[in-house]
């Protein structure tokens, strides 16, 4: 281990780490564009200069390795002057169109210019202009705003290894572009929007949806697979506008997949269940209340009830369910799972899990492996053979049509209770429908495939009268 001082703070770092990393890891910020902890060092932006004692001139902190006894200063007059000059160079060809740029408010170029830059321009020539175009299904490129840090190029070369973007031409004609007919279309393409330090790469999905300073940012966990990526949700006027990954080196590093990124749309979809409903034998549907529904449910639960719970339920819901099944002596319990997908691994260790359920591990922890593996079959058999009088399905799986087998079987029970977030073929048949909250509308926790329990926060108000699973179950 190497001991050094940065801004008079003693820091211990591993040999070979850059001064930049050592500083950032210890809460000292050094301005940077091209440096990204998960990507290779490029050293091209030249703004991360720091003064090192006994070195003739300021050095770039991302390319300088720590050394024993090094004394580093990250802010002084000389450095501020260099940063000012570098920013001036960046801005001579930059359109400075912050008013229409989605990055405004979270743009490092804007921030650094505010900190170090000049309030006027000495550049009186004509600016170089470039294309604005779609470069992929999720991403739009404003090449004029680009600072050529090449983070996107390195990301696509090193993490996804697809290399759809390249820097074309030479010198100040340099421009980011795709090969004709080969857009940036890979499962992680949205990440290049997050790592772009300026407004050059913009999410088409979020385009002009909200200015970032109006948004509330809350932490959550992506429910679309068992990886359990940590996410930051941007909420504006009660609607989720975007998801972005939160750094968690143990789970998702700095990334998330595009499918997860767009998954907030399921929360806002039109077919959300917003009211407690009862269906009479004749088929007429009446709105009811939580209390009323709980009373009905209490009366119908008994030892020969079958329960199907999904692995989209959070740990709180599952624990509450366990209490309920124990109380009523329910033996027929099964797990409703979204079928597995394809596991995908990327550079740097990021994985998209084959398991499309966020809480399979959590289900196993509460109900045991036997229920997880065989419960579903048992329940279906019990329903088909008429052994179960009541079937209580707690679903909540997003972006999934329930298996036909279950829908057919469900028609055979005397009393069908469905607790779900979205309406489905099953809720059409149910005698009692309980609207439940999605992960975005409640506090809870999922246990991911590594066995880590990860908490997520309520992002928005529940849709209509929807209630969290555990709130409903606790009253039974």
């Amino acid at each position: 281990m190497v001991k050094l001082r940065i801004n008079n703070k003693e820091i211990i770092a591993e040999p070979g780490t850059s001064v930049m990393k050592a500083a950032l890891d210890n809460g000292i910020f050094i301005p940077h564009f091209c440096y990204h902890p998960a990507l290779s060092i490029s050293g091209n932006c030249r703004i991360c200069v720091v003064s090192v004692k006994n070195m003739p001139k300021p050095v770039t902190s991302c390319t300088t390795a720590v050394a024993e006894g090094m004394e580093v200063e990250t802010e002084n007059k000389d450095i501020a002057a260099i940063r000012k000059s570098v920013l001036e160079f960046f801005l001579i060809n930059h359109p400075i169109d912050c008013p229409v740029c989605d990055q405004a408010g979270e743009c490092t170029l804007q921030d650094f210019t505010y900190l170090y830059g000049s309030d006027h321009s000495r550049f009186s020539e004509e600016k170089r202009t470039w294309h604005t175009k779609d470069v992929g299904p999720l991403v739009k490129l404003w090449a004029n705003r680009c600072v050529l840090c090449a983070r996107c190029v390195r990301f696509l070369n090193e993490i996804t290894k697809t290399g759809e973007l390249g820097i074309m031409n030479r010198g100040d004609r340099n421009v980011i572009d795709t090969f004709p007919g080969m857009p940036v279309d890979n499962p992680l393409s949205g990440n290049i929007v997050d790592i772009c330090p300026v407004g050059a790469l913009i999410s088409k999905d979020f385009l002009y949806q909200a200015r970032v300073w109006f948004m509330d940012f809350k932490q959550s966990v992506c429910p679309m697979c068992a990886t359990g990526c940590n996410i930051t949700a941007g909420v504006y006027q009660g609607k989720i506008k975007r998801f972005a990954p939160t750094k968690n080196l143990k789970v998702n590093q700095y990334w998330m997949c595009d499918y997860g990124r767009l998954s907030y749309k399921f929360v806002h979809s039109d077919n959300r269940l917003t009211a407690f409903l009862t269906r009479s034998q004749a088929g007429s549907v009446t709105k009811t209340t939580l209390q009323e529904s709980v009373n009905i449910l209490k009366n119908s639960l008994s030892g020969d009830t079958a329960v199907l719970a999904s692995a989209y339920m959070d740990n709180e819901g599952l624990t509450a369910l366990k209490t309920v099944t124990d109380k009523y002596g329910i033996k027929n319990i099964g797990c409703l799972l979204k079928p597995d997908g394809k596991a995908q691994a990327f550079g740097g260790g990021f994985k998209i899990s084959h398991d499309n359920n966020p809480n399979r591990k959590g289900f196993e922890n509460v109900f045991g492996k036997a229920v997880l593996d065989n419960g579903y079959r048992q329940v279906i058999d019990a329903v088909k053979t008429g052994k179960a009088g009541t079937l209580y399905v707690i679903n909540g799986i997003l972006d999934y049509a329930l298996p036909q087998e279950l829908i057919d079987a469900a028609g055979k029970v005397k009393f069908l209770v469905v607790q779900d977030t979205h309406s489905s073929a099953l809720t059409e048949k149910a005698h009692l429908v309980l609207p439940s909250c999605t992960y975005a509308e409640k506090n809870g926790a999922f246990t991911n495939e590594q066995g880590m329990e990860q908490k997520f926060n309520r992002l928005i108000d529940p849709a209509g009268a929807a209630e969290p699973d555990n709130i409903i179950l606790n009253q039974l």
Partner: protein, 157 residues
């Protein structure tokens, strides 16, 4: 239209791949092969090169556009590259360039209508002692005067 190399070029490609320890390093030499075979490189040629070298096409394009000496597709039969950097400029390369512009009726980076000549103003060709110099396709023509140039152009068919 996807392009392919002919057998002879493929042989050259195989020989080249013995020479370099990584596949990436083949990129520049293989672009030269493509330039030779197709007399200029276009998007299809780049895709072919990308496939052979095993890199994404965007990378090939990125490298190809970095280097200015590769022949772009659509160049004329004769590519006239007029050096315009200081040592040549001191000895009259501007005059040579203006003469060519007038004679061929085209500006830099343009091709005559008959597709015979492409004119290109380029930076230092490394022949400052024998300036002004024009590179026509692969050959250097040095110590040029407008009269000499006319003679040379007349010989080019």
């Amino acid at each position: 239209m996807p392009k392919t190399f002919n057998a002879k070029t493929m042989e050259k490609f195989q020989a080249l791949s013995q020479r370099y320890p990584t596949k990436d390093a083949l990129l520049l030499p293989v672009l030269r092969l493509a330039e030779e075979e197709f007399n200029g490189i276009d998007d299809d040629a780049m895709e072919l090169v990308a496939g052979l070298v095993g890199v994404p096409p965007a990378k090939v394009m990125s490298v190809f556009t970095f280097y200015t000496h590769y022949r772009r597709a659509g160049s004329g039969k004769y590519l006239l590259q007029v050096c315009s950097t200081l040592p040549c400029a001191l000895r009259g390369s501007q005059e040579i360039f203006e003469h060519l512009k007038k004679k061929l009726g085209i500006d830099s980076e343009e091709t005559t209508k008959d597709g015979k000549f492409t004119l290109k103003k380029v930076e230092c060709l490394g022949s400052c002692g024998t300036s002004p110099v024009v590179q026509i396709n692969e050959d250097y023509y040095e110590n040029l005067t407008t009269e000499k140039l006319d003679e040379i152009l007349n010989k080019l068919q």
